[in-house]
């Protein structure tokens, strides 16, 4: 236990980085995911194609491969950013593919009559998406998006492999000194579990509040 308590500042530092990674990546993923979903349900064939290609590309490549390519490959062509920023962008782009799929399932859950009614009222594609389809779609996918948030939290630990000192890397470093892997990694695991439990609690509340009664 003392191995854990003696190094609380290090763990705290790591936890802060993990939270930064999680929040920034999720925000980025939500925005990109929304755009991709809009593309995938749009009436323009080219946009649909780009949206599909994006989702297939990012869902079919392991996140670690993307991280390593971005951290070591991009500087070769002159693109170099801070490690934390690189990790945030890569995780955001990767998770956006999953969010886009979740959102699309939500859009599909909105009955076709709603879209037809919106068009009959004279709303444009953007207006019907904004005022009719997406509000209902978003409410249906709160739980799946919450699950993606939790998965994203766990995925941020991969950033430890490319030099970001998040909670996992911090735990590794403490263990290197203390050689007490079980309390140290159980402690780190509990911190992740706490984040996930909070996310679960929030999505549960949101879902009950915003549910669409059909």
């Amino acid at each position: 236990m003392s191995a854990l308590l003696d190094h609380l500042p290090e763990f705290w530092q790591g936890l802060v980085v993990t939270l930064q990674l999680t929040v920034a990546s999720f925000a980025g993923a939500a925005v990109v995911g929304l755009v991709i979903t809009a593309m995938r349900v749009s009436p323009v064939g080219v946009l649909r194609g780009i949206g599909t290609a994006y989702v297939e590309t990012f869902q079919n490549l392991p996140l670690l491969v993307l991280l390593v390519l971005a951290v070591f490959g991009l500087p070769e062509i002159g693109l170099k950013a801070d490690l934390l920023v690189t990790a945030m962008i890569v995780i955001a782009l990767y998770e956006a593919a999953y969010i886009a799929e979740a959102l699309r399932s939500g859009v599909n859950a909105v009955s076709a009559g709603q879209g037809e009614a919106a068009r009959a009222l004279g709303l444009t594609f953007g207006q019907s998406l904004r005022h009719v389809v997406l509000p209902q779609a978003l409410r249906t996918v709160i739980q799946p998006v919450g699950n993606i948030f939790i998965a994203l939290t766990m995925n941020t630990s991969l950033a430890a492999a490319v030099g970001v000192v998040d909670l996992t890397a911090a735990a590794n470093r403490v263990n290197l000194m203390e050689a007490q892997p079980i309390p140290i990694f159980v402690g780190a695991g509990l911190a992740y579990a706490l984040i996930a439990a909070c996310a679960g609690f929030v999505t549960g509340r949101l879902e009950r509040r915003l549910v669409v009664v059909r």
């Binding site: 490959g73 030099g163 000192v165 890397a169 007490q180 892997p181």
Partner: protein, 305 residues
């Protein structure tokens, strides 16, 4: 472009690795590469039957016919899998083979890929018999595991890009960004000598080198032997100063197994006296370090051993 080439190389290497695995299935994978390690292991000693005490760990290993070693597969010069032969080569790997021969009579080793977060647990629950993995003996670790040895003493050194000025000793790293291998003793060492340094870690040595060249950090702290080997291959990087730590590597054993510890220590003394230790060094680490083999460290000479 370089990354594409690297990607292609990785793909090619993994293909070779696959075919090598398939190829050795029918043969006897335990026989080491005849060309290199073969004659070395052939001259390795075998324990007298009286030394294998009944009921001891040694007897269990002998009956199993295989020594299970916790080690790395990616540590150049120490324990690295050769992708073309599938054979694990290097100083630590050869020590494992020699120890297996001493106990069993044949160099039959199974390497379980361990990591610094799992070594203590693997020894504690008996998954591996010994750990040979640049395992620095420290008093904290000695509370969890027993250490035979030290069997090798190394030190951390600094590497910088050619033309870097102002970094010659660890204290110069204060306020700088320093690259280190994840899970290496370099991290606590830097924290101690240069508390204001920012440490970035990467999983493997090639990644650290790439990061240094891409200016992700000002210096790279790693075992001197490895750095010397890197600097020889890549002229854009140079090693500065001399080693600033002494890391005595021990053979990790299950905590409290004094019988086995004495047995391994006796074996270490034997191979140091008959020159096998020096020959093993020459064939691995000695290929990049100039001069004769160093004097092996005194067994039991550090706290924790």
């Amino acid at each position: 472009m370089v990354s594409m080439k690297r990607l292609a190389a990785v793909a090619a290497v993994s293909m070779l690795g696959l075919s090598a695995c398939a190829g050795t299935d029918s043969g006897s994978p335990a026989v080491p590469g005849e060309a290199k390690g073969g004659d070395l292991i052939a001259s390795a000693p075998v324990a007298a039957a009286a030394d294998i005490l009944p009921g001891s760990t040694m007897e269990k290993i002998k009956q199993r016919g295989e020594l299970i070693v916790g080690g790395s597969l990616d540590a150049p010069l120490l324990s690295q899998q050769n992708p073309t032969t599938g054979e694990v080569e290097g100083f630590d790997a050869d020590m494992g083979k020699a120890l297996a021969k001493y106990i069993i009579g044949e160099p039959k080793v199974k390497i379980v890929n361990s990591a610094s977060e799992t070594r203590e647990a693997l020894l504690g629950n008996g998954t591996v018999d010994v750990v040979l993995q640049t395992y620095t003996i420290t008093p904290e670790r000695a509370e969890q595991v027993s250490f035979a040895g030290p069997y090798y003493s190394s030190g951390l050194s600094l590497a910088v890009r050619k033309g870097t000025t102002g970094i010659t000793k660890p204290e110069d790293l204060n306020g700088k960004t320093v690259i280190a291998g994840a899970n290496t003793p370099a991290i606590p060492a830097i924290k101690k000598l240069a508390p204001q340094a920012k440490i970035v870690t990467f999983g493997s040595d090639p990644e650290c080198m790439q990061a240094l060249k891409q200016e992700r950090g000002d210096a790279y702290v790693q075992d001197e032997t490895l750095l010397v080997a890197n600097a020889q291959k890549d002229s854009s990087v140079q090693v500065v100063g001399s080693p600033f730590t002494t890391d005595p590597y021990g053979i990790g054993l299950k905590h409290g197994d004094d019988q086995f510890k004495k047995f391994v220590n006796d074996w270490l003394k034997k191979i140091q006296a008959d020159g096998l230790w020096q020959k093993t060094w020459k064939q691995s680490l000695g290929t990049v370090v100039q001069g004769e083999a160093p004097t092996p460290p005194q067994i039991g000479s550090v706290p924790g051993s």
